[in-house]
Amino acid sequence: MTRLVQSSLSIAIYLLASLIGVVAFLYPFFLPVLPAATMNSAHSNDAPLVLSIVVVLCFIALLVEIQGQQLSAKSVALLGVLVAINSLLRFIEVAVPGPGGFSPIFCLIILVGYIYGGRFGFMMGTLTLFVSALITGGVGPWLPYQMFSAGWAGMSAPLCRPLVRLLRAEGKQAELWLLMLFGFLWGMLYGIIMNLWFWPFVSGPADQYWQYGISLWAGIQRYLAFYLATSLLWDIAAACGNALLIAVVGLPTLRALRRFQARFHFHYEPLV
């Protein structure tokens, strides 16, 4: 009974956090269609800021739920080491002017989430972004959004599992193709999400459109223009980079992660 309540509460927290995330990312489109009265009041300018605070708080709540009361030494050590390795990959992104927008960190986040589960994947994504920001000097207002999105990428990776099971593809090429597709999708999605964060600041407060009579569709059109101009190419490069990286290192990495999963998994249960 308690377990049922606990899991439904967990699900509620996951859903609420996701909902707030979605609202936060999409709200600029709805601003122009809101009643004029609220627009002229004093709150329009600080809306992005207030929303940022709300997102950060929700993120904290989600992290509390995912972290649990305590993490075992095995989880802590494994996360610490994997996060360190992955954060160093971020240097490649910063130092090597490779394909624009490509970030090698998603490959491991997705593979780790896929093998070790969503909870682990979420922390892997979140903490990779945090640690790499600390070591590359990339702490900025975008950080919570980056952490949130990368966490989502890791958390959603186990969604591939039922498909793989359905195709009986474990350890085969089909599994790799599926993960490559997943990596590709997240490459695009991450770009879109990060743009949405940027959007309210670039597009400015909504009042300039209100007078102009901009509609929901016009807002989206405007975003699309911005997106096409500034980041579509980058995002495609990022998505292809993810897929390519998974294609190259995917199968051996999966094998290594599976091998060690067995080693990390043991619990001692006393003989009664």
């Binding site: 300018n45 800021l49 709300v54 929700c58 009361q69 610490g80 996060v83 360190a84 911005f226």
Partner: protein, 344 residues
């Protein structure tokens, strides 16, 4: 003397508030100047790379062009683009271009403010800001930060080791012999580290589930946040919205505090809280409150500079402008304390 990390966070928050509530170019200029002064005069804790100037220029140009091209509003028409082009077709106005420029300035302010924080605080201090409830995560981050130099050494070893068995880097696939030993070595290392941590008193198994009370508090907190934000934006009920949001934040904060209480830890390095820290904290809070409070205590109209439909000169209220100088408190307190340390 260095300020407490929390005091710096308060300064950062108030700077962000200041940046996001105003589009008045005069006030924005004051904020940017304050950030630059604080950034240049505060003692640096470690060298980190600086954001390139080119990035700032790029931001300004993008933001200016984009606003000008997509907001076809304002009386000072610069030129016209053919109407048939979607989104960008129409009049291009000076007002829209100027507004875009202001947006760009706000963004640059954000970046600079964070850069100051990265300069004055070390990574350890930033990790130390995590609340006690996130102790496991703080340990993960500490391990990761400590493991970075070792991993770099390891990469060198692996590169050499693969070279001596005839490995050459030519194509994509050739990264695999470098990647796999790194990953496998890391996993082995993690296993040994976990064992060492257990031997020193770390728990060997997960205690995964939350306590129901905490979970309920979290759900309620999130609901309140969402509702408050909604009420405030859609119905314009500022007071109610802020109240609900504050309550939600309080609930989440309280839960964090309770979780932290349950597994107490002590700290080897703690920084004492000094009078200076209180001054900075107080100044930052007062300033942010002044800008945000849903009360009409003060006349804040000049914050909302609005160039449409006809470009006008921004208003400037001297006392409000003076309030923005609160952002200089970190430098002022250091200056009062020990003028020699400045800029070292």
């Amino acid at each position: 003397m260095k300020l407490h990390p929390l005091a710096w966070v308060a300064w950062l928050l108030s700077t962000l508030v200041a940046l996001s509530v105003t589009r008045n170019p005069l006030y924005l200029l004051i904020v940017l100047l304050c950030i630059a002064i604080v950034g240049n005069l505060s003692p640096k804790s470690q060298t980190r790379y600086k954001l390139p100037t080119a990035l700032f220029v790029l931001l300004l140009v993008t933001s200016c062009c984009f606003n000008a091209l997509t907001v076809h509003y304002g009386n000072s028409v610069l030129f016209r683009l053919p109407e048939w082009i979607p989104v960008v077709g129409g009049v291009i106005t000076l007002e829209a271009a100027l507004y875009g420029l202001l947006n760009g300035c706000v963004l640059i302010g954000f970046l600079l403010a964070f850069q100051v924080i990265m300069q004055v605080l070390t990574s350890q201090e930033l990790v130390g800001l995590l609340p006690p409830a996130f102790y496991p995560i703080a340990v993960v981050v500490t391990i990761a930060l400590g493991f970075v130099p070792t991993t770099i050494q390891q990469i060198g070893k692996i590169r050499d080791a693969q070279a001596i068995r005839g490995h050459r880097l030519q194509g994509w696939r050739d990264w695999l012999p470098l990647w796999m030993p790194l990953l496998i070595g890391g996993l082995e290392r993690a296993f040994q580290l976990a064992e060492a941590m257990v031997a020193r008193g770390f728990a060997s198994n997960d205690r995964p589930k939350q306590i129901i009370g905490d979970q309920i508090a979290l759900v309620c907190g999130m609901l309140l946040l969402l509702a408050g934000w909604f009420v405030r934006l859609v119905w314009g009920l500022g007071g109610v919205g802020i109240g609900a949001m504050l309550l939600g934040a309080l609930l989440i904060g309280l839960t964090l505090w309770r979780i932290g209480k349950r597994s107490p830890r002590s700290h080897y390095r703690t920084r004492r809280w000094h009078l200076n820290d209180s001054i900075v904290l107080l100044a930052s809070l007062l300033f942010a409150g002044l800008l945000l409070a849903p009360l009409d205590l003060l006349d804040r109209r000049s914050l909302y500079y609005y160039p449409y439909p006809e470009l006008s000169l921004p208003e400037f209220q001297t006392w409000l402008g003076l309030c923005f100088l609160c952002l200089l408190t970190p430098i002022v307190v250091s200056l009062l304390n020990n003028p020699k340390e400045i800029g070292s």
